[in-house]
Structure formats: structure tokens, C-alpha cells
């Protein structure tokens, strides 16, 4: 079906036009009286094409605001579903297929089976977001170009029915005799300009317009959202984001996996509020309210021998990590996440005593994390035959280690030197007194113990790690784009909402009849008040409320 889309003013409009692009005459509802639908100035949009092909149908689907609203609403409902029970990602080491049923019974099982236990990671939630993204792009493109075209070539003198069918309307006569149409219009120009309007007049007709930029607000905020959504998608690319939790024992530089960086937790501090600092209600309950978690961190970059026990480290950064104060170095971020008290010996400064001559050699350092293989002290050579970080004996009496943490370290040396057997004698050394007693070090060392002893002078020779600080190590390269998208969104929203595009059309017919129509994108109260003030100054007294078009909207 073909419409004749030529307006009586001679302008040829595209199919789908509601209001003539030139004079504003309503094209499809010529004799109506209801206020006009002014959205997008009544322009034809791409989605209104006749005989749509498949691509046009897709375009039409996504360009519909109604579809957009439904998509947002569906996302809203899906998001609510996801908050009914805790999501899978809030647990570590929990089997969701068992957990939900065990904790919440049948409804929990159903929740899991429906995939709601991972709502926000599910394909259908992502699909909804992608569809919202498509809708944002297509809705915007569908409207912004035609709107731009319509607003950049506006006619000053509009069709009569365009004016009287605005929501703000005034009709009357010139305020006093002796004023000509031209001089009345000329008199209005400075009044409108003072209020920030840009005024175009052609003698007896006038178009005043301000804050047109606010019309672009929605499109700008949509662009911001598109950038935001794209940035979120990009986080899925390899190398764009990293997220791991690592424990750092005090005083032990530990490699951050998959990076050349090592981080040392020099000292971890946890402080609690004292009784005096707490409000009265909390006192005397033994309530521990934490005040500070702090990791004194040093960041190293490995320069050589990176996979060995003794990598070459260069200090690159130093910072105290606290909650709310993450370590930042280039792309690397480290957050205080958790801590555990893990009292263990990190190193001991021992001396070797020759009991026969009473001579002492050393001290030398025994590291409990990466001990050396040989130590040469005076005439003695100590070869580390075996090392057990957490020494234990199995039921057959064979030593083994419970873990890799030096909780009960045991060093088994073969010592060669004066007064000892040619190929050395075995000496077992437990740095902790408790272990010495428990495993009877002296009995194990029977024979050699009369000739040689290894031990520390005082507690100062023992370095102890008290805490393991757990840090959340991250990189997130999409972050700048995400926040950039957020800023653009905010700029768009503020432009579109806190300013309104206002237009006032005035035409004077027969040298006396004034017809005024006005339109604003929002805030009708404001434009009525403004127009009433302006008209008042031009000699026409009219209450703001009287400017409202008498015809109520359907």
C-alpha cells in the first residue's frame, strides 16, 4: 500500500512520518483535536519501512521501546530470582548439586536444577544483557539520525493545527491597539533571549528554542551503557582479568602465580578496638571488633632464575596493604582479604659446637623454607641429607612430612670433620624444643651427640612468622573502560533529565490573532510558568495553568 506522503505545504515526507517535517501538520490524523504525539518530532524512523526484509524485522523488533521495556523488566525479574538463595560463587569448595538440597530442601533442589543457583553466569541472563545491548544500539540509531535531521531544519512558521494541538497553547489578540504584528514579535525577541532561548523570526512568526542538547542525553547515556556492556564482555578475553587468592607467610617472598612478581609480607598487623573505644553496650562481652588489618608488603620483580628456589629479585614497590587501600603497581592489584595465625619458624641462626675442644663455629642460618644443601663451618662440612618441614613418624617408624609448612621442621645432616667418621655421621636437628623432646633428639643422635651439638644461643636467633596474610591478587584491564562507560552514562542521563529541550512557536495571523504553541521534553509546569512570565512582560496577562491545553490526554 502506498501513501501519498506529500504535505499540503509542498514538502515530501518519508513513509511513516506523523507530523510534516516542514510545517508540522499532522498527517495521519488531520482533523483530530487531541494534543499531538511529539515524540521524535513525528519523524519517520527506519523501523517503519514498508515491506520489511528479515533484517528489517530484526531491526524493527529491537528498535521498539516496548521491547526494550520488556527486556529490562525480564532482567529485573531474573535478578530478583538470583537473590532468593546465595549464589554458587559465594561459596568456596562446596558442591552445589548437594548443597542446595541439603540446606534448603526441595525448593533448594529446584533452585539448583532451574539453574538459578548461578543466575548471573547463566546463558539466559547473558542473553538478556546482550539483547538489551542490541536494543540500546538499534533503538538509538533508529531515532537519533532522523531526529537530528528534523531538529536541524525546522521551519519557523508552523501549521495552525500543529500549534493549537500542543500541550501548551495560547490564543488571543495583540495586547494593545497600535502594536503591529512585527513590532510585537520584535519585542518578544529580547525577552526570550534573556531566558536563554535562541530566537528565529520571519516577521510575523517566531521560533524560540533552548537546551536542544538535552535531546541528545538519552543517546549519550545509551552509548555509555554500550561501552559499559562491551567492557564487561572484554573481561572474558584471556589476559584481561586475573583473580586469585594467595597466602603470604610473614617474611617469605612468594611468587604471584603466572606473573614475574614476588610479594613479601614483611609484617602483618591485626588490631582490635580496646574496651574504652567501644560503646558501653558492647563492653564486657568479650566482643572483638577489628580495627585494622594491615600487610606491610614489598613487591619484587624477578630478573633471573625465576623458577628456581633462589630467584633473583629486584624490589619494585613497597606499600602497606589495608582493607580499602589495595596495593597498586602497574596492572597488579593486591587486596587484603583474610589472615590466619600461623606461628612457625622461618629461620634459625644456629652455631655448631665441638664439645671436645669446646669451640663454637657459626652462627649460620638454617632456612626452613628453602634450606641450603651444604654448610661449611670451620673444619666441618654439613650436608643436608633430608629435610622434613612438618616431621612425623608413621606406624613403622619411618619419617615423613605432614605438609610443606615448617610447623615442626627437622634437618637431617651428614656432618664431616675432625673427630668424626670418614664419610660423616648423621645428626638430626629439631629447631623447636617441643620437637626435640617429643622425638628425643638426643637419643636419635646417640653417638654423635657427645662430640657435636647444634643449637641456638637465644630466642633472638629464631625468626618466627606469626601470620599468613591472604591477599586477593587481581588485574582488571577492562576497568578504565567500565568506568569510562559509567561516566558517559551519567553525563547523558544528567543532560537528558536536568535540562529540557523547550520550544515556543508563535505566529500572528491577520495582523492581530496570536497563536502560541509550546513544547518541552519534560517539566510542563516549568515551561508554562516561563511562558506566562514572558507573556506578562509583553503585556499579555495569563496564569500558567491557563496555558495548559484544555483537551485532556487520552
Amino acid at each position: 500500500m502506498l501513501h501519498n506522503t506529500k504535505c499540503e505545504c509542498g514538502h515530501q515526507n518519508p513513509v511513516g512520518t506523523v507530523l510534516c517535517e516542514s510545517c508540522g501538520k499532522p498527517l495521519d490524523d488531520e482533523f483530530g483535536t487531541a494534543p499531538l504525539e511529539m515524540r521524535y518530532d513525528g519523524i519517520a524512523r527506519r523501523s517503519q519501512r514498508e515491506n520489511p526484509a528479515l533484517i528489517d524485522r530484526v531491526w524493527r523488533f529491537f528498535s521498539s521501546v516496548k521491547v526494550a521495556i520488556i527486556l529490562i523488566f525480564l532482567t529485573l525479574c531474573a535478578s530478583i530470582m538470583g537473590t532468593i538463595y546465595p549464589q554458587e560463587n559465594t561459596f568456596l569448595n562446596v558442591d552445589p548439586s548437594v548443597y542446595y538440597e541439603a540446606t534448603y530442601g526441595f525448593s533448594g533442589k529446584l533452585y539448583y536444577l532451574l539453574g538459578l543457583s548461578d543466575t548471573y553466569g547463566s546463558w539466559w541472563y547473558k542473553l538478556l544483557l546482550i539483547m538489551i545491548g542490541s536494543s540500546l544500539i538499534i533503538c538509538s540509531l533508529d531515532r537519533v539520525l532522523p531526529l537530528y535531521r528534523a531538529l536541524s531544519k525546522q521551519q519557523i512558521r508552523k501549521h495552525m493545527s500543529f500549534l493549537v494541538r500542543q500541550r501548551v497553547v495560547y490564543q488571543g489578540q495583540l495586547p494593545a491597539t497600535g502594536i503591529t504584528a512585527v513590532s510585537f514579535i520584535d519585542g518578544l525577541v529580547p525577552l526570550l533571549k534573556k531566558r536563554g532561548y535562541r530566537v528565529h523570526s520571519d516577521g510575523t512568526a517566531l521560533l524560540a528554542e533552548k537546551h536542544r542538547f538535552s535531546r541528545w542525553g538519552p543517546y549519550i547515556n545509551h552509548i555509555g551503557l554500550i561501552i559499559f556492556l562491551l567492557a564487561v564482555l572484554m573481561r572474558g578475553l584471556p589476559g584481561w582479568s586475573m583473580d586469585q587468592y594467595t597466602g603470604f607467610l610473614e617474611g617469605v617472598p612468594t611468587q604471584i602465580e603466572n606473573t614475574p612478581y614476588y610479594l613479601e609480607n614483611e609484617k602483618f598487623t591485626v588490631e582490635y578496638y580496646t574496651e574504652e573505644e567501644l560503646p558501653e553496650e558492647f563492653r564486657g562481652q568479650g566482643r572483638a571488633v577489628p580495627k585494622l588489618f594491615q600487610t606491610k608488603a614489598i613487591l619484587y620483580e624477578c630478573t633471573a632464575d625465576c623458577s628456581s628456589d633462589k630467584p633473583d629479585l629486584k624490589q619494585v614497590h613497597q606499600q602497606n596493604i589495608e582493607v580499602n587501600k589495595p596495593l597498586k603497581y602497574k596492572d597488579l592489584l593486591a587486596y587484603q582479604f583474610d589472615f590466619r595465625q600461623t606461628i612457625q619458624i622461618r629461620a634459625v641462626n644456629v652455631s655448631l659446637t665441638d664439645k671436645m675442644s669446646n669451640q663454637t663455629y657459626g652462627p649460620f642460618e638454617l632456612n626452613t623454607i628453602t634450606p641450603d644443601e651444604t654448610y661449611v663451618e670451620g673444619p666441618y662440612v654439613l650436608t643436608l641429607k633430608d629435610y622434613y618441614p612438618e616431621f612425623a613418624l608413621n606406624d613403622k617408624g619411618v619419617p615423613f612430612t605432614n605438609s610443606k609448612s615448617p610447623l615442626a621442621p627437622a634437618f637431617i645432616f651428614v656432618i664431616q670433620g675432625p673427630g668424626l667418621a670418614e664419610d660423616g655421621e648423621v645428626f638430626i636437628y629439631f629447631p623447636r624444643d617441643v620437637d626435640k623432646q617429643r622425638f628425643s633428639q638426643d637419643k636419635l643422635n646417640a653417638g654423635i651427640v657427645d662430640k657435636i651439638d647444634i643449637g641456638v644461643g637465644s630466642m633472638q636467633d629464631v625468626s618466627i612468622s606469626r601470620f599468613t596474610s591472604y591477599l586477593n591478587i587481581r588485574t582488571d584491564r577492562a576497568l578504565p573502560y567500565i568506568f569510562f562507560g559509567g561516566i558517559i552514562f551519567m553525563i547523558g542521563v544528567i543532560m537528558g533529565i536536568y535540562w529540557q529541550h523547550r520550544r515556543i512557536w508563535i505566529r500572528i495571523d491577520d495582523e492581530n490573532e496570536i497563536t502560541i504553541g509550546a513544547h518541552t521534553s519534560k517539566n510542563w509546569f516549568g515551561i508554562r510558568k516561563e511562558l506566562s512570565v514572558i507573556l506578562g512582560k509583553a503585556g499579555i496577562v495569563v496564569e500558567p495553568k491557563q496555558l495548559e491545553n484544555g483537551v485532556k490526554q487520552a
Binding site: I72, T75, Q336, F483, V493
Partner: protein, 420 residues
């Protein structure tokens, strides 16, 4: 007097002034039909008095806020009491801003009660100044929480104006399906407000009599060391008389209330959440006291409460109310998006190492945002002005309140400290 006492007194003064100003709003609006007066002059004169009282009240509450800030050394928005009082203050400020634009003092008739109820609700929570835990030590605490609350306060005004629109336009004489539905909806909304009032009265009432009941419960808890489930005895203390005791619990002691010294029922065994028995008991108390209050009022006025409120609303332009509601929400929307989403993301990034983690509170902030996004888009469509959009503004505020309170009560997450 210490700074903290000053601050408490200033809040009390603000609360009293808000209540008085509310009464003056009632006089201003309802009194215009009294004899021997010009209604327009009456509304203008008394409206001015009411707004002046509101502004003085607001000044007093700002004094509370600043003195508490000085006393605590941090912005008082760190727990439920502080947040709710801040929100009530923001609502009054938002009301003043919309009054300044539209000069409609009748708006105070609905805006002030929202603020008054929130202050009384805040009083249910511990008032003491608490030191900040490390997670809250950030200037984002001030920025994120205050901006989000400011946005929400405009939504509250949108709600007040939307409710006024509905009360103004519902036709109580009509028997059509639509107007009956509207009328029932209004009664339900008013009942919901009364439930909150009931909760506040009951909580504060029993708080002042030091009522307590104690229950013990055997629960399976995961042991930190072994990772195995071990039975632990948990004690729950009620401050409201127990209709319902926690599931599988024993009574340790229970103060008698009107001769009731044993719980009537036990919570169903599937309620396993933290304090779920206690919460269920509180919900029952609130609904019940709300119901009693509602029916007392109904028996006094002998017609739907909405119908009696409507009588005071004659002469107020419904379209203006619709526009005020829309405008308030439009003003609040960018502020809310900035505070509750963007600033929240920045802080989450600083504190937790991720800008978004689908924590229930975060998700509900997003849900609120999506809801008002739908609202703003629907406003562009034909037929969604007036009645429908007013209902949306009412529903929207329920979503806001659920985000602020319901999430803490029902689905705690990382924001759980906000409930302490």
C-alpha cells in the same frame, strides 16, 4: 553536655518539630473547609507556618548530623540507625526542594509522615556511636551512602506524590472493577504503612519495658578446624513476646506477657536462616499490630481510610501531583544511579577487589535502578501517565525499602554489617 548528648537532643527536637509540622499541614489542608474563611488564604497562611516548622526541624536534624559526625569522628551513616535518620533527613530536604519548585504545601501531608516513620524506625536499632570496622574505613562510605540515600529520598517524594494522586483521583462512588481494584490497592498500601508504624510502636514499647525471652537451639555448625559439622548450642534472645519460638528450641526463660508465658507455636523446621524464628515472630507482631491499628481506625471513621483522606484533597490539581511525582523520580534517578551504582562500584573495587559481585544488596540496587528505568521509559508511552505511573511510583518505593531493609532482614550478604 557532651557532644553526643547535644546531637541526640537535636534529633529529638527535629522529630518533635516534624510531628508538629505534620499536624499543621493537616490543619492547612483539612481546615480550608472550615467556616468564615477564604480557603486559598487559609491554605497559604497555614501552609507557610507548616513549611517554616519543617525547615526549622530540618535545621535541627542537620545539627544532629553534624554534632554526631564531630562526636564520632566519621560521617554518621555507618549503621542502620544512622542510615535511617540520614534518609529521613534527605527526604525532608527533597520535599523542601520540590516545595520550592511547585509551592504545593499539601505535599508535606504525605512527605512528613514518611520521614517521621523512618526516624521512629531508626530508633528501634542501637543508637550508640560505634567505631568503624576496617571494611567501612573509606571516604567512599560518606560519598556512596549519602548519594544513594539522596536519590532514594527523591523516590520517596515521588511515592508521596504518587499516592496523593491516587487518593485524589480514585472514585469511591464508582462501582467499576478498576476503581474497586484501585481502592483495594490504596487500602493495602495504607495498611502496609500502618504495619511499619505497628512494628515501630511494638518494638519501642517492649524495649522500654525491657521485655526478654530466651531460647536455646541445637544447630549443626561447620567447625573451622576440622571442617566437619558439629552440634552447637545457640541462644536466641527475643525482645518481643514470643508467639513463635525458634524451630526445635527449648525455652530458657520467658517474661510473662498478658499471662502468656510459653510460646504458642514453634517455627517450621525448614526455617534455618540466622535468627529466622525471631524474625518470623517480629513479622507476626508487626502484621498483627498493624491489623489492629487499621481496624481501630476503620471503626472510628466507618469507611475506607482512603476515602477519608480523599476528603482533604479537594482542590489539589491531580495533573500537578502526577507531574511532581514524575519530576521527583526524574531528579532522583541520576543521583541514585551515581550513588548506588557508580560510586558503589568504585568503592567495591577499592574494598573488595571487584566492582561488581552480585551481592544481594548490590543486586537489589540494580533492581531498583532497572525498575525506575522502566518507569522513565513508560512515561514516554501513551497511557502511562497518571494512574498507572502513580502505582509504579508506589511500587518503586516498596522496592527501595526492600533494598534498604528487606535485604538485610531476609537475604543478608556482604552488607550485613549495616544491620547491626
Amino acid at each position: 553536655m557532651s557532644l553526643e548528648q547535644w546531637s541526640e537532643n537535636a534529633l529529638l527536637l527535629a522529630f518533635i518539630l516534624y510531628n508538629i509540622s505534620f499536624i499543621v499541614y493537616v490543619i492547612a489542608i483539612a481546615g480550608k473547609k472550615w467556616s468564615n474563611r477564604d480557603p486559598i488564604v487559609h491554605v497559604r497562611r497555614w501552609g507557610r507556618v507548616a513549611v517554616t516548622m519543617t525547615v526549622i526541624g530540618l535545621a535541627s536534624q542537620i545539627t544532629y548530623f553534624i554534632t554526631r559526625w564531630l562526636a564520632a569522628g566519621h560521617v554518621p551513616t555507618s549503621n542502620m540507625f544512622e542510615f535511617m535518620t540520614f534518609l529521613s533527613m534527605a527526604i525532608v530536604a527533597a520535599f523542601i526542594i520540590l516545595f520550592w519548585i511547585y509551592r504545593l504545601s499539601a505535599l508535606g501531608l504525605f512527605a512528613m509522615p514518611v520521614s517521621i516513620i523512618l526516624i521512629s524506625y531508626a530508633a528501634v536499632f542501637p543508637k550508640e556511636v560505634q567505631p568503624l570496622i576496617p571494611a567501612l574505613k573509606s571516604y567512599w562510605l560518606y560519598i556512596h551512602v549519602t548519594t544513594a540515600a539522596l536519590g532514594e529520598s527523591f523516590f520517596a517524594i515521588g511515592f508521596a506524590a504518587g499516592l496523593m494522586y491516587l487518593l485524589r483521583t480514585i472514585d469511591y462512588t464508582s462501582k467499576t472493577k478498576e476503581s474497586r481494584k484501585d481502592s483495594r490497592g490504596i487500602e493495602f498500601t495504607l495498611y502496609a504503612i500502618i504495619v511499619v508504624i505497628g512494628f515501630v510502636l511494638v518494638s519501642n514499647g517492649f524495649k522500654s519495658t525491657d521485655y526478654s525471652a530466651e531460647f536455646t537451639q541445637e544447630v549443626q555448625q561447620k567447625d573451622e578446624q576440622s571442617g566437619q559439622l558439629v552440634p552447637v548450642t545457640k541462644t536466641t534472645v527475643y525482645t518481643l513476646p514470643a508467639f513463635v519460638q525458634p524451630a526445635n528450641s527449648k525455652v530458657v526463660h520467658m517474661d510473662s506477657f498478658l499471662g502468656m508465658d510459653q510460646p504458642l507455636l514453634s517455627a517450621p523446621s525448614w526455617m534455618k536462616g540466622i535468627d529466622s524464628g525471631k524474625k518470623l515472630n517480629t513479622v507476626i507482631w508487626s502484621l498483627l499490630s498493624g491489623l489492629i491499628l487499621y481496624w481501630i481506625l476503620r471503626l472510628i471513621v466507618r469507611r475506607p481510610l482512603g476515602a477519608i483522606i480523599q476528603k482533604t484533597m479537594g482542590g489539589i490539581d491531580a495533573d500537578d501531583l502526577d507531574e511532581i511525582s514524575y519530576r521527583a523520580i526524574a531528579i532522583g534517578y541520576p543521583i541514585f544511579a551515581l550513588g548506588a551504582l557508580i560510586f558503589a562500584m568504585i568503592w567495591a573495587h577499592e574494598a573488595w577487589g571487584r566492582f561488581w559481585g552480585w551481592d544481594p544488596k548490590e543486586t537489589w540496587a540494580l533492581i531498583t535502578f532497572l525498575f525506575y528505568t522502566v518507569y522513565l521509559h513508560l512515561r514516554l508511552s501513551r497511557g502511562w501517565q497518571g494512574n498507572k505511573s502513580s502505582w509504579l511510583s508506589v511500587l518503586g518505593f516498596i522496592v527501595v525499602m526492600f533494598t534498604l531493609i528487606g535485604v538485610n532482614l531476609i537475604v543478608a550478604g556482604l552488607h550485613s554489617y549495616a544491620g547491626v
